[in-house]
């Protein structure tokens, strides 16, 4: 299956999963919603152009927003992490050249620690920005911090589970092949 088709399926699956499974879960605590859909952006291939990455992320966010009914709320953090993604990938795997040998970021292509850091940082940025816009008019700082950390924790758990369940086979590409 080509990378393009695979990502279209992933896009639809992530949106449906987020809207019809995760958003339907009664809140674990007063205000924690489990988020997983932004993993789609983290899983996009290395080879995608920076502009393309921004546009795809915007499309993902705005699609989710129209299902949930809050245009712009999820699109803004998606675009932010899409913009920052190339920088962090460069920092994390500059020496190994993995972006040439593997198709997309994963534990195998980046190594456990760099990939973990990559997921952690973007999960945190996404939730921080999302909750910041959502809570701007409420302004209770303790709630804000609590919500960001708790949602980040739940999302990391979900990402860990999905990495274990859907093990992505990564082919090692060489020039000789």
């Amino acid at each position: 299956m080509s990378l393009f088709i695979k990502n279209i399926f992933r896009f639809m699956l992530f949106i449906l999963l987020q809207v019809y499974v995760l958003n339907q879960i009664p809140p674990l605590h007063q205000f924690i919603t489990p988020y997983l859909y932004f993993l789609f952006i983290l899983w996009l291939p290395f080879s995608i152009s920076r502009l393309g990455l921004l546009l795809v992320a915007f499309l993902l966010g705005i699609t989710l927003d129209y299902f949930v009914g809050t245009p712009g709320l999820h699109a803004a953090p998606c675009v932010l992490i899409a913009y920052l993604r190339p920088f962090l990938i460069n920092v994390l795997i500059s020496q190994e050249g993995a972006e040439l040998n593997y198709a997309e970021p994963s534990i195998k292509s980046m190594g456990f620690a760099p990939y973990g850091l990559y997921v952690l940082v973007f999960t945190f940025i996404h939730h921080f920005y999302l909750v910041l816009i959502e809570w701007l008019s409420f302004g209770n700082f303790i709630y804000f911090l609590g919500k960001v950390t708790a949602t980040t924790g739940i999302s990391l758990l979900l990402i860990f589970i999905s990495e274990m369940m859907f093990f992505r086979k990564q082919k090692f590409r060489t020039n000789t092949a």
Binding site: P26, L51, T70, G72, L73, A76, V79, I133
Partner: protein, 283 residues
């Protein structure tokens, strides 16, 4: 000029990023103040049809609970039937003139329409509900939405077959309410913390209150019919800054399990609004 092009080319991705962010924020701000996003009408129709399919499956899980609710409501309505009220006949002669009673010139003010909930959220700060009934079936903006247990929200956007409701659990939602026992009125809004509770403001500190007192919609509300259940008082706090209580009210409606609601139209709303908005002449 050349320098500008070089600048744009160099920071093209960054500029795109900034543009997209601005678009997002503009959507968000516009939508939250006026509730009229650019594509809201179209998008409602598309996502609404997906939601309906999903809802067909989801409904099976709530059948038992819904049956109980319908039964409760039926019992309550049957209790209100005229048949149940009978007083001993003290007059010599009973005169019932049904024709006269029908033509006293009473005008209908509220029209109730049933609707099915196809999408519902409680976990966000800005909660919306989508109903499978739209302008083609008689839904208009600003109509009140009432569930089997109590108030739910107000219609804010309508497409042909779907309508979008601002739930009572929304930071912009204001419902005019009063205490049932002494008809002192105040305003219901939501602090965004817990979907089971809303806040009642504007009740003066001289009022005697008890936990468990009933709060209903007031007759000053132009969208909601009066005396619809809102909830019961859970806790009372005094606001040190002014002369009013801050009252925590447990909502009568369980927003987690909303499936069927009634949409209420105030047939005299336009007339009332027109009179209220007209400038006062002899002042």
């Amino acid at each position: 000029m050349r320098n500008i092009f070089i600048f744009i080319r160099r920071y093209f991705t960054f500029l795109c990023f900034i543009t997209l962010q601005i678009i997002c924020i503009v959507f968000l701000v516009n939508f939250n103040t006026t509730h009229e996003a650019v594509f809201a009408g179209i998008a409602n129709e598309v996502t609404g049809s997906v939601n309906t399919e999903f809802n067909k499956v989801q409904n099976y899980f709530h059948l038992r609970e819904n049956n109980r609710l319908l039964l409760d409501e039926n019992t309550r309505l049957k209790n209100m039937l005229g048949i149940n009220f009978e007083s001993p006949d003290t007059t010599k002669q009973a005169i019932i003139d049904s024709i006269y009673r029908d033509t006293t010139g009473r005008q209908r003010k509220f029209i109730w329409l049933p609707a099915k909930v196809v999408n519902n959220s409680v976990s966000s700060q800005l909660n919306y509900i989508t109903l499978h009934r739209g302008s083609a079936q008689g839904i208009k903006k600003d109509m009140a939405v009432v569930g089997p247990q109590g108030t739910v929200g107000v219609v804010i956007d309508v497409s042909e077959n779907y309508s979008k409701v601002m739930s009572m659990l929304h930071q912009n939602s204001i419902v005019s309410a009063m205490l049932k026992k002494n008809t002192i009125s105040g305003k219901i809004n939501w602090t965004g913390e817990d979907p089971r509770y809303v806040t009642l403001n504007g009740i003066p500190k001289t009022t005697a209150l008890k936990k468990g007192d009933t709060v209903v919609t007031s007759q000053y509300s132009s969208t909601f019919p009066p005396n619809i259940m809102v909830g019961t008082i859970e806790a009372v706090k005094k606001d040190p800054a002014n002369n009013y209580f801050i009252i925590k009210v447990k909502t009568a409606t369980d927003f987690y399990t909303l499936e069927y609601v009634n949409v209420v139209e105030n047939a005299q709303l336009t007339e009332q609004r027109k009179l209220e908005q007209a400038p006062v002449k002899n002042q």
